[in-house]
């Protein structure tokens, strides 16, 4: 007997996706979306603008080989281009594709580079929409950083929506984020900010079309100031197809040179990796039961204070470190003994600069583990305004 197969329409699929992902946090949306057969081949589109780094960081955590499409309108701030390279290298993104309009198209439609003043929609079409649509040909879905709070026209976007410009699905993992969520995320993960943010540009597009925003103004007020335009072509317009010029992907930064632990010699763990001990001066050693209030030591003078962790379950050293920092100690602080990789973020947040372990432990828990554990979760304490 013949079987009736109903293929759900795109709106139905999108509704089902939104329902299924309803309770997901942003990073979970990303992680699942990248392997959801419903969404097919997925690319991310990023402007490397003011807030982009949050989503880029997440994608790097989930899968740094995800294709990231960056549209260079050739009207961008030089700071944006430099920032794009810095972020891609820092996050280890391996497949950033730079998308541009062809020289022929530009020569034909905007030879003097002033189309943005006479007809900004046509300019966006030429420099963004058309090249991007072309670049998206090989993909079924694309990830954007759009958030509800950004504009009244975005107030009801959801995690998944139809792309009006083509057959694809748009994925908006940050749909429900607030400005504060983004700011928290960037601070807590210690991510580099776009250099123009500190100069009053909370939303950054092309140089001719972006101006700084005054305190209290809507963050997107600086985009297309004085014009009846709030969205650029990428998120709106249905463009005609043209050739594209795919650029070379940025080469990923070389891995830090491997460090081999040597028996009998201490291994120093820092944010930058494992290293041999480079310190040759005098070390002030404190036991885990040191009573700072009674100890007769002038710790302020010490160049390096080393606090013992006789066992990783003995957390007294964390309090000693915090108290030394609160008392104004500015020198080097080292945790010494049985400290495990998962305690690295605790040690760093308690004021330690580094950890000293033996070669055995270093072999069993290689740098990779320390690094992963130091990509720390956001910190409630920082958010609550507790100064280190």
């Amino acid at each position: 007997m013949a079987q009736v197969v109903t293929i759900p329409t795109r709106p139905a699929r999108i509704a089902a996706l939104n329902d299924r992902y309803r309770h997901h946090a942003a990073i979970r949306v990303l992680r699942d979306a990248l392997r959801d057969p419903e969404l097919g081949r997925v690319a991310m589109v990023s402007s490397f603008g003011a807030d982009s780094v949050a989503l880029l960081h997440m994608i790097a955590l989930v899968d740094r080989d995800t294709p990231v499409l960056f549209v260079d309108t050739q009207m961008l701030f030089p700071e944006t281009l430099a920032y794009q390279q810095e972020v891609a290298a820092k996050l280890g993104l391996t497949d950033v594709r730079i998308i541009r309009a062809t020289p022929a198209a530009i020569a034909a439609a905007d030879p003097d580079g002033d189309l943005n003043q006479t007809n900004p929609d046509a300019c966006c079409d030429l420099r963004k929409t058309v090249p991007l649509n072309k670049a998206l040909q090989g993909f079924d879905s694309w990830i954007t950083g759009r958030k509800r709070f950004q504009a009244a026209s975005r107030a009801d976007i959801d995690f998944f929506e139809e792309d009006p410009a083509g057959p694809r699905i748009k994925i908006n993992p940050l749909a429900h984020w607030t400005a504060q969520d983004v700011a928290d995320y960037i601070v807590n993960n210690n991510l580099p900010r776009h250099p123009l943010v500190s100069q009053g540009y909370p939303s950054i597009g092309c140089a001719p079309c972006t101006s700084p925003v005054q305190e209290g103004e809507d963050p997107r007020a600086g985009r297309w100031r004085g014009q009846q335009k709030t969205e650029c072509g990428i998120h709106f317009v249905n463009g005609k197809l043209q050739r594209i010029q795919p650029a070379e992907a940025e080469p990923a930064e070389a891995e830090t040179a491997a460090f081999e632990p040597v028996d009998g010699q201490p291994v120093i763990v820092r944010d930058s990796g494992f290293a041999a001990d480079d310190f040759t001066g005098e070390i002030l050693d404190l036991e885990s039961d040191t009573n700072l209030d009674e100890a007769n030591v002038n710790f302020r003078e010490a160049e390096l204070i080393r606090i013992a962790f006789p066992s990783f379950t003995d957390g007294r050293g964390f309090t000693i470190a915090r108290r030394l920092r609160m008392a104004g100690y500015k020198g080097r602080l080292r945790a010494h003994g049985h400290v495990i990789a998962d305690q690295f973020p605790m040690a760093r947040r308690s004021g330690f600069d580094e950890v000293e372990i033996d070669a055995d432990l270093a072999r069993r828990q290689p740098w990779e583990l320390w690094k992963r554990s130091s990509e720390v979760a956001p910190s409630y304490l920082t958010r609550l305004g507790r100064q280190a």
Binding site: H23, H24, A25, A26, I27, R28, H176, W177, T178, D181, D184, Y185, N291, D293, F312, T313, D314, G315, R316, F318, T319, R322, R323, M326, A327, I340, D342, Q343, P345, M346, A347, R348, R349, S350, R364, Q365, L369, R372, S373, A377, P378, S379, Y380, L381, R383, L384, G385, R386, Q387, A388
Partner: protein, 553 residues
């Protein structure tokens, strides 16, 4: 209901991911079992008698219908179809496989739940009054403060490896339903010169050495709360004993060093720490308070149906008499759903029951659900006109037991059926007592009587504060039960006294029966509870009932 921020969501997702990684590393051998142990404990994973156990936090006992449904999914998919609500506002699953736990944590993270710091030597799940925001006698809703404390203590870098576990409870009402004085830190909301703050007590605890907390500071203003707590923890991390795990709790430090010495130490630390808080926590506190949606309470709807149902249906009336509490709005009631059906395991709920509770909370109760430390479920805002329909639906799901505060509303720890430390079984004793008094049809006649049972000296069943406490021990391979009398776990907290020699598992039920008949004989009238009679008469008449041979001799 507290609505989670994106920050909260990202945090739990990250932690679930991290734990998945740690499980991998344990399996690959990068982590030794010794090193894995505290990590799994930080994520609520215990190794029990038969299997791993996963303990999930229900912070300050507040849970949404969606979260409850997700617990049902977990019980159904990864456990044996039920979960066990504990005396600390947690839920435990007793049968997960280690390899499944990362998936369970992911499923929890989807609804903003987690198992972070439900075990290990760190600051545990913060508990609060389960009637918060609804009770008639409340000064302020304690949950925003409990949530602030939860955020501050979560992943606090300095306090993940304390000498021992650390428990904090908050009460917003003079009737202390959160038993704050049995916690390492107990916070009781008070007002002074028009300003809100907390009376702080420290060093309470049950366990092997039951001690009532001592007041360390009569008034800490709200703005100083976090730095003051941090000062206590900092002092404890420095002076708490690490040589003997049974002497490592804060209560022992308070007992050995004296409350004055501890206060001095805390004051010094407070002076160091206070300037490090820049006040952002107070802004966040306001945001948290705003994220607790207020119930919409309607006035003017008739409650005549309720009165009529009381008249018409004696089963409904008896349930309403025991399982309702006064709501701050006269047309509403606080409903406690008993998870203590006669003969069942106290605190257990099946996945079907969890779904029913979630649905009923949405249908009648504004989507608000609570878990009480007495292992029951609370629907805090039910209009009186809806009570009869609610009760009918509960009965259909086998949740209509009318025994709140009565002899069969027993708190019992998991005991030898699950717990690796146990010396005796506790759940079967609870079941037999409940069944016996149900047969005797005496339960409502006896009135308020709290029996609490622990399966070993660690006292997770809080037997010290039961009006009748039962402690199961192992005497040369045979289970033996000691009885304590006169304990009280409320604001008039007292520790029960041992009555005499223990009873075998066959003798204990008849002994409790004699004891209760003895009380019925000596009470002044039906309004005098067991505890009141005990306090009036002292232990002698009760001992005589327990040990008739001796009395006769």
């Amino acid at each position: 209901m507290y609505h989670h921020t994106e920050f909260d969501r990202a945090f739990v997702v990250d932690r679930a991911q991290r734990f998945r990684d740690q499980v991998q590393r344990r399996i690959s051998g990068a982590l030794t079992e010794d090193e894995f142990r505290p990590l799994r404990l930080m994520n609520g994973v215990y190794l029990q008698l038969h299997a791993y156990m996963l303990r999930i936090a229900i912070p300050y006992g507040t849970i949404s219908p969606d979260q409850m449904r997700q617990l049902a999914v977990i019980a159904d998919r990864w456990d044996k179809g039920y979960g066990h609500f504990t005396t600390r506002q947690n839920i435990q699953f007793n049968w997960p496989k280690l390899v499944d736990i990362p998936d369970m944590l992911d499923a929890l993270a989807e609804v903003g739940m987690h198992a972070i710091q439900t075990s290990g030597n760190t600051i545990r799940n913060v508990t609060a009054d389960h009637f918060a925001g609804a009770a008639a006698d409340e000064i302020a809703d304690p949950r925003p403060y409990a949530e602030l404390i939860r955020q501050w203590s979560t992943d606090h870098p300095e306090f993940q490896f304390l000498p021992r576990k650390f428990k904090i409870a908050v009460s917003g009402s003079p009737n202390d339903r959160a038993v704050v004085k049995s916690h390492d830190i107990g916070l009781r909301m008070v007002e002074k010169d028009g300003e809100s703050g907390f009376e702080v007590s420290v060093g309470g605890g049950l366990g092997r050495t039951p001690l009532v907390g001592k007041v360390i500071n009569e008034f800490v203003p709200v703005a100083d709360l976090l730095p003051y707590l941090e000062a206590i923890l900092s002092a404890y991390n420095s002076v708490g004993r690490r040589d003997n795990k049974y002497k490592a709790r804060l209560k022992i430090a308070v007992q050995e060093l004296g409350i004055d010495h501890i206060r001095e130490l805390v004051d010094e630390r407070f002076a160091e720490i206070r300037p490090k808080f820049d006040g952002t926590d107070q802004t966040i506190l306001d945001q948290i308070a705003a994220r607790f949606g207020q119930p919409t309470l309607v006035s003017g709807r008739s409650t005549a149906d309720y009165d009529a149902a009381r008249e018409a249906d004696p089963i409904f009336r008896s349930w309403a008499d025991t399982n309702l509490h006064a709501h701050k709005h006269a047309d509403y009631a606080i409903v406690t759903v008993s998870l203590k059906k006669h003969g069942a395991t106290p605190g257990d709920a099946t996945f079907d029951q969890m779904r029913v509770l979630a649905d009923l909370a949405e249908r009648f109760g504004q989507g608000d659900l609570r878990i009480s430390h007495e292992q029951n479920v609370v629907l805090p805002h039910i209009h009186k006109a809806d009570l009869a329909a609610l009760h009918a639906a509960l009965r259909e799901a086998d949740l209509g037991t009318a025994n709140l505060g009565l002899i069969s509303d027993i708190i019992a720890c998991p005991g030898l059926d699950y717990c690796a430390l146990a010396t005796a079984r506790s759940i079967p004793i609870a079941q037999q007592i409940a069944t016996r008094f149900d047969e005797l049809k005496l339960e409502h006649e006896i009135g308020e009587l709290k029996i609490k049972i622990s399966g070993c000296i660690n006292a997770c069943g809080h037997h010290h504060v039961g009006h009748i406490g039962i402690l199961g021990l192992d005497r040369a391979g045979v289970e033996n039960y000691q009885v304590t009398l006169g304990g009280d776990g409320t604001e008039t907290m007292s520790v029960g006294e041992r009555a005499g020699p223990g009873f075998s598992k066959d003798e204990i039920i008849p002994a409790i029966e004699r004891l209760v008949y003895g009380y019925l004989d000596v009470r002044e009238d039906a309004s005098e509870t067991f505890l009141q009679a005990y306090r009036r008469l002292g232990p002698e008449p009760f001992k005589a009932a327990l040990y008739p041979e001796k009395a006769a001799a």
